[in-house]
Amino acid sequence: MLRFTEEHEWLKLDGEEVIVGITEHAAEQLGDLVFVELPAEGKMVVKGEEIVTIESVKAASDIAAPLDGQITEVNPAIVETPALVNEDPMENGWFFKMTLADPSELDDLMDEEAYRAYIA
């Protein structure tokens, strides 16, 4: 199951966790990424809290926690090679995994069709 936020994050349900990244649309808008700073594994996060800092060739931006929960794993490959986010934003360019305080909140997010309409 794939869900999307208005901040152009995608969430993919993977067992007890969700994998979170940014959409192809977001990656394209940002331009080439040159720096990624990820949260600590184990960190408790609140929806809307800025937990990731990214820098593209153009500017710095923050990425917020999509929902309440706990960070379980982060992707060291994108810290080492930020360009991976531009090359493969929906798979190898994922940012972090988290468990959700309330998994039912996923239902409040956009599905793929709604997200496509949102960015159209």
Partner: protein, 375 residues
């Protein structure tokens, strides 16, 4: 993008898939589909074509017919040796104000019977007014409506020489009239990337023709303003309005190399330009602060506005004026102003980034070996 001016290459940029944005009143390509990183690296490895038609091209022509009169008049506006510039040669110049601050930076070329100036787009109207006021009666000031294309990179010479073999004979900062594939151009061997290359002034209506001819070469990619900025930053070249402005003197900006001995104290035509007392005093005594290149530790860029500190506890001692990621360095790079006592290469400083103090080092220069063809 209403109200923005367009260069003669606007439609070509659109057809090439440019992402555009406003710059100095023009709708300009920020990047092409290759993206800033690839564009930047391509210029360092091969050749890139830049539309710089937004920049101001101005002819200064002596009414007397004697170029020396125009040189003397320009020397009242700039601390440069204009009179000593030989025909077919170009120099970097600065318009200064009475306080010794920088109004604009420019290129000026001796074209035999006139000078050709290339000034920043954002300062074009002010510079023309400055020239008209400063040169009144002595010179005619004629803004040119022409296209300007920069071809930059180690393969620029080979690419341009395929269309006009004589350009291979030009050295860095040479300027000459060249017919390129039937187009009457004025070519200078110069640029704003740290690489070898050319800036090519052409009639507006032929600008697309020339750009298409150059882009047909497999070594040439179109390059946007994003990569133009990262290229000039790595090369340590100043951006007016960021790194130099009316609050910075040429000596603070480490640009005293552009002030030739003839205009310094003891020189044949010492002083006599706006801000001479302040600027010439600083050449001898040094300035209290200096522009330096900076290498932040780690991967996080330090951009314009980041404050610099000598240690954890104190007040800020300086500020980043330009910064970003240097694709050729594979690391962040910046420039900014620091106290003279902290300006030596390898001096360790701190920059405050998102509330955190991060180490940053004053860099030895040049960071990128210039590709200029001097000999």
């Amino acid at each position: 993008m209403t109200g923005l001016a367009r260069t003669p290459l606007h439609a070509l940029h659109v057809s090439l898939g440019a992402k555009s944005g406003p710059f100095a009143g023009y709708d300009m390509p920020i990047q092409f589909p290759a993206g800033v990183l690839k564009e930047h690296l391509h210029v360092r490895a091969a050749a890139g074509l830049f539309d710089v038609s937004h920049m101001g091209q101005v002819v200064v022509r002596p009414r007397s017919g004697a170029l020396g009169d125009a040189a003397a008049a320009l020397e009242r506006l700039m601390p440069m040796d204009v009179a000593g510039l030989k025909p077919g040669r170009q120099r970097y110049g600065l318009f200064t104000n009475e306080g010794g601050g920088v109004l604009d930076d420019l290129m000026f070329a001796n074209r035999g019977d006139h000078f050709l100036l290339v000034v920043n787009a954002a300062r074009r109207a002010e510079d023309i007014a400055l020239l008209e006021a400063g040169l009144a009666g002595v010179c005619a000031v004629e803004p040119l409506e022409r296209g300007l294309i920069a071809l930059q990179g180690p393969k620029a010479e080979a690419v341009l020489a395929r269309l006009a073999p004589d350009v291979a004979l030009m050295r860095f900062m040479d300027v000459r009239a060249v017919e390129i594939d039937g187009i009457a151009a004025i070519v200078s061997r110069s640029g704003y990337t740290g690489e070898d290359g050319f800036e090519i002034s052409v009639p507006s209506e032929r600008t697309v023709d020339l750009a298409e001819r150059l882009l047909a070469d497999p070594d040439v990619l179109p390059i946007g303003l994003g990569a133009r900025d990262s290229l000039r930053l790595e090369a340590g070249l100043c951006l007016l309005g960021a790194d130099i402005d009316t609050t910075t003197t040429p000596v603070e900006a480490a640009l005293e190399w552009a002030i030739q001995p003839a205009r310094r104290r003891g020189g044949a035509r010492a002083g006599g330009f706006p801000g001479a007392a302040a600027i010439l005093g600083q050449i001898e005594a040094g300035a209290a602060r200096r522009r330096v290149m900076l290498l932040p530790e780690g991967r996080a860029p330090m951009r314009e506005g980041v404050e610099l500190f000598a240690d954890e506890g104190g007040d800020p001692v300086g500020r980043v004026t330009s910064g970003g990621f240097g694709p050729s360095l594979g690391a962040p790079v910046a420039m900014g102003y620091v106290p003279a006592a902290l300006a030596a290469p390898r001096t360790g400083l701190l920059g405050r980034l998102r509330g955190q103090m991060q180490p940053v080092m004053v860099a030895p220069t040049p960071l990128i070996a210039p590709g200029y063809k001097r000999a």
